[in-house]
Symmetry: C3
Subunit: 477 residues, 3 copies
Amino acid sequence: MPHPIAALHPDRLFPAEPVTRAVARRLYENVRELPIISPHGHTDPRWFAENAPFSDPSSLLITPDHYVFRMLYSQGVRLEDLGIASRNPASTPPPDPRAVWRLFARHYGLFRGTPTRLWLDWVLGEVFGVEAPLEEASADRAFDRICERLAEPGFRPRALFERFNIEVLATTESPLDDLRHHAAIRASGWPGRIITTYRPDDVVDPEAPGFLHHLARFAELTGEDVFSWNGYLAAHRKRRAHFARFGATSTDHGHPSAHTANLGPREAEALFQRVLSEARGRTVEPVLAETFRGQMLTEMARLSLDDGLVLQIHPGSWRNHNALLHVRFGTNVGADIPRATDFVGALRPLLNRFGNEPKLAIIVFTLDESSYSRELAPLAGHYPALKLGPAWWFHDSPEGLRRFREQTTETAGFYNTVGFNDDTRAFLSIPARHDVARRVDCAFLARLVAEHRLPEDEALQVACDLAYHLPKTAYRL
Amino acid sequence: MPHPIAALHPDRLFPAEPVTRAVARRLYENVRELPIISPHGHTDPRWFAENAPFSDPSSLLITPDHYVFRMLYSQGVRLEDLGIASRNPASTPPPDPRAVWRLFARHYGLFRGTPTRLWLDWVLGEVFGVEAPLEEASADRAFDRICERLAEPGFRPRALFERFNIEVLATTESPLDDLRHHAAIRASGWPGRIITTYRPDDVVDPEAPGFLHHLARFAELTGEDVFSWNGYLAAHRKRRAHFARFGATSTDHGHPSAHTANLGPREAEALFQRVLSEARGRTVEPVLAETFRGQMLTEMARLSLDDGLVLQIHPGSWRNHNALLHVRFGTNVGADIPRATDFVGALRPLLNRFGNEPKLAIIVFTLDESSYSRELAPLAGHYPALKLGPAWWFHDSPEGLRRFREQTTETAGFYNTVGFNDDTRAFLSIPARHDVARRVDCAFLARLVAEHRLPEDEALQVACDLAYHLPKTAYRL
Amino acid sequence: MPHPIAALHPDRLFPAEPVTRAVARRLYENVRELPIISPHGHTDPRWFAENAPFSDPSSLLITPDHYVFRMLYSQGVRLEDLGIASRNPASTPPPDPRAVWRLFARHYGLFRGTPTRLWLDWVLGEVFGVEAPLEEASADRAFDRICERLAEPGFRPRALFERFNIEVLATTESPLDDLRHHAAIRASGWPGRIITTYRPDDVVDPEAPGFLHHLARFAELTGEDVFSWNGYLAAHRKRRAHFARFGATSTDHGHPSAHTANLGPREAEALFQRVLSEARGRTVEPVLAETFRGQMLTEMARLSLDDGLVLQIHPGSWRNHNALLHVRFGTNVGADIPRATDFVGALRPLLNRFGNEPKLAIIVFTLDESSYSRELAPLAGHYPALKLGPAWWFHDSPEGLRRFREQTTETAGFYNTVGFNDDTRAFLSIPARHDVARRVDCAFLARLVAEHRLPEDEALQVACDLAYHLPKTAYRL
């Protein structure tokens, strides 16, 4: 008997074959209520600091979610009509949220077969109790229902955080962020564990717009002479310590490639001065910028050995591929596209310097699935410092998560991976995302059990480790 | 109870698991009799113009099908013995068709597990009523049976076209083709819808043998000064309009890579003159040829915005990889080999110029499956002008079609894809190819339904869209 | 009812779906007792020459198996503690084998989901009759049990060879090896068929440490002036003939890439002299070394046409990626990492020279699974001389073997592949490895049967061919 909303069926994402499904159910029963560990993501700490009601369904579920609006854009819907703010605010008034919602509902069929559909169905049905599948005819009813709910106290950010059974939630901030929202959360006495993450791209990437201005602000915040190499490193050290005081247990680095470098101190200093000098002349030669970013990964690893922060690397996205949209709407508008990414040559300088340190934790992610079995599983199955981040971004989907396990487990095992990251701005979808990951992992394990490749008691232990213990350990939470 | 010919079993290609199979059957019941839309392929329009009987089984099923003879060649069978015409016709007399057929039947086991086997079994069993599986012992009986049938009126090209329930069939012609067969079809009053496609490689690719001669002929046909940049573009415009009068709704471009360029008019003109100048000196520098082909894709997109023709790009095949065979037998002898293909950097100039145009339709194909989830689905899930062509060439097989859906759907959805292309010269296999694609799509959708990822009513709508409505819409038929 | 040791369940690795499983069982029943053909591997011929008892469980099962110790190393276990010999023997005394075993047993859970787990469970349970799953608590009991068994005559190398039903086992030796163990085996009158393989990397790779010393030794062994091009080739010819007298039917080449070259004799000679000259100056320019290795593959093919040896190419591993470990422990310590590997351009010089020779057999392997469907299946499905080696190294696992069939069969068929290689030093796991491969092939074929893509009688013939006849034929055994 199908559930009226497929995404809420209790057996969703389990294989249809009855023996395997029964194993998957048993495994899942033991992990489904484990608290959510969300060690890497992009929610807004202001929500939890201010705990104000979310305003309306569209600005909650559509406008901030590039998975959603990129699909609509790909089918000819204008971003302006979805309420995406243009950089030229004078252009047109923002559309009415109800109009945006109707437009979205009319195109809901585009999401068939996508994880967005699974997540949204869960949010609509399970969080808001919207009954019918979303379509043009039911758009207004759903909109009104959600609006009513959002006005209730139980739908404020902190209440949802508690209802979602989140044990810890990491946000991501620039070193230039004053962490005021994190401070406010702590000052409020609310016990929800919201922690920050040190993401220094805008003071590390010489190609970031405003790089020199960022450095100036970096100097102000730290009192260091960041235009000297030692002062620059000292500023990082201080700021990392500051972030750690707001709960950070990790840093994060979003570079175009996985390139690393391992220069001696004098060469590194000379590189830094050359980068500054070119930056003052407005453009930094790409190969120089690449080398500097790569050197900084190695420097960050060195600092991590001291302060214990986990080092995350998210490489391989060609950001802002669509030049026109970049000019008109800025960043994060669904136009970041993955590229083929080398890890074996690229990570070697870093790994040769620090890869044998069992106390260091480097977590590497990829958007290039061809590297799972070819490069990343062999690397993570060897280097003590290296772990594999979960299927990322376009790949944190049922098929993507399954491919990750199928292509990494045989070489790296389960214990060189770190559980799931939701990595999302879409707060309301967090439980659905973790639930999808847990179900897919249980389905994978159930296949191993049904094919007599792993005893069920061990599979159960692995399921619990993947859902809860591995992320806690790997991220030192 | 297995059907004596596996490929004709009513449940073929459906998953064995009973619940999923039952869903697949129900979905398939609704699509199996939908008319065939064949928007891209390589059948010979002469067949339908002249409507003469096909001569014999070997020249119908073996000689023109490089899937077939490449496999036999790989196992040491000589191309001469299969009736493949050498460029040196004086060499040896062509073999007897019956001898070719016997050789083929003796090696039929080589095709186990290949789509060729599925297609051929269908053609033998369903079109010709050949009963036993083909093997050496039954070769003569099958040969005779097919010969008898080919002599019957119901086995002439137009009768088969009607029996196959083909609503529209596109062939592919060079701008230098006089389209006489298309003209004859129209003049004949026969209502079968056979349309052409504008494939200008031989007047666009400076590395094509005879490039300058082709341009001279291009000038004759159009009355334009094709050795000037504006005249050259005007000739394309005229010829495209001429093709459109013979039903063309698309153009097609088979380039070594997906490289595109977006030069200004003066630069483009200078490039064209430099290409001509080097071509007159016999060899065009490869990087220049690459840039010119890339620029022409952007020019074609510009023309498409005016005349509405859909732009197809088929990149990434290393044509004529086997130099010896190329010298002895020419092109299309099974020696075209795919290479790793970049799309993210390669298509950027074109997409940055025209990718945001919702009225433009660019359909891109790949032979590099690693690009499905990494590059093409993310691109097609963003750019309004871009759609993904179906699994192509070596990959239009059960496993290949399944991988296409598994690796593109979650990011691009179903509606940024365009249904199936048979892309074949093997006319008799067209229904079998579409049937395989429909079955594989139904199997994929059935899995989504059985795993509660999509309600069955929506899956049914998707199945019909993939089989029929999407190709009609995408190719503007 | 699960078997207490999952890996010994009679249905292990078969799909759970009952119809498919039943087909898989029937196919497997017909192949499971076929003799093992092991045409490529790295066992030590001394074992069979001396037939001495193996000393203890750790030096038998852990120390020589980099699959095992790399996983433990990746989780922070020190290689010294696993009994891996350091290059500085004075450093610390080797650990007690029992201590190594306990350390291994404590970490046995790391292997969940890996093929190592399947192989080891089989060795423990089936070869040694160790009953409980291995864990810390049972470590000592298992250690003692295995020690007892190793002292019995039935557990000596030759007895195990016979018990394992191995028809032929190939080892791999350098041209500089005196083959004394092979000679001793033959002199002993023992009928076990152990053959050698000609692996000339250390006299072919100018970047191999000690290259010039190897050449000097090569000269001594052959009496040829190996510092002249013709003498060097003559030395290969002589040494290949010598190896053939000890049963060799193949050569093997482990190069960083699949690069080949096809220079004329005078150019090749000049290249050789330049390589020697640079080698005398201590370092050979990388591109020169690459060209020379590539030229030597073509030379080896030329020699193979004369002496009939099969040419194996194992490209694409970045050997000794971990510089620190390389210095401290030498080669083969689990730090060889695959890279993206091009075959289409790389093999073209060789294939254009000799690819059309039906009498030549080139077997090519890959660590880059993205090349299966994109490059290798299309190449092997065309060139008469080329065959695909089985899933290799990190990929000779259930998922890896399955992907190999799913991604190569539709284009290359089964008959351009060559059955399974165990390619292992871990002698005791050989039956388990072949059994895994046979089961995975039967599971793949069973799916084809259950989905009506292949009749069961033909699937059965394929299963037997893959398990037994293809390796015999392909390796000319």
